[in-house]
Amino acid sequence: MVRVEFLGPIQKEPLELEIKNLNELAKILQDDKEVSEWLQNSAVAVNDTLVASLDVELKDGDKVSLLPPVCGG
């Protein structure tokens, strides 16, 4: 299972999904009304490292995080 976490203001509980890569995750989240509006402006991290492309394989125990727009300070 891959754990998917939604950070900051995205009001959504984590998901546990049987997925093999980020392309599969993109399809699932694009169909999820709770989160689809955040996809255009959220960054993606796999195991706490930001990624720049969907060509990332996932394995059992991996963690994917969605980071919406930030504003520290």
């Binding site: 989240l29 694009q30 960054a43 993606v44 990624v51 969605l66 980071l67 504003c71 520290g72």
Partner: protein
């Protein structure tokens, strides 16, 4: 590691004193602090912050490495949770051998902090905590999950 997170508003005087005293004999010629304070505007009672610590730490470590390469050191403190008007939620500082490095680094560091550090800001109004969407910046590389194939 010189990244400090605190619940609520920062004790600015003590944090700056601690940093100053820690480096006062380190032979740095310049110490440039930046302090961010919550202003009374738009009817807010304060601000509130969420932080994602694992990525904040790796972001900060990358900056610390850049500073070290120039003989400098960066320190940073930030609040978690609620910070009320006229309290401070953010302090960063650069110590460097000569002034130019510290003055340039603090500018670049604070700008990248605003654009990249995984911290989310909310306005406190009445009993509500409202995400500051219009003041927030998408992290570089955002949007990949939204591309339809």
């Amino acid at each position: 590691m010189a990244l400090e997170l605190y619940d609520g508003g920062l004790d600015v005087a003590n944090i700056l004193k601690k940093w100053y005293e820690a480096e006062s004999k380190s032979n740095y010629g310049a110490f440039v602090p930046f302090v961010g304070t919550i202003r009374d505007e738009d009817g807010i009672e304060g601000l509130s912050f969420d932080i994602y610590e694992p990525i904040l730490e790796s972001w900060f470590e990358a900056w610390q490495k850049k500073a070290k390469a120039k003989g400098a050191v960066i320190k940073m403190a930030h609040s978690r949770g609620d910070v009320m008007l006229h309290e401070s939620s953010y302090i960063s500082a650069v110590f460097s051998p000569k002034r130019r490095v510290a003055l340039e680094f603090i500018d670049e560091f604070v700008e990248d902090f605003k654009a990249s550090a995984p911290i989310w800001k909310y306005d406190l109004k009445g009993s509500k905590r409202i995400y500051a969407a219009d003041r927030s910046t998408a992290i570089s590389g955002s949007g990949i999950l939204g591309v339809k194939k």
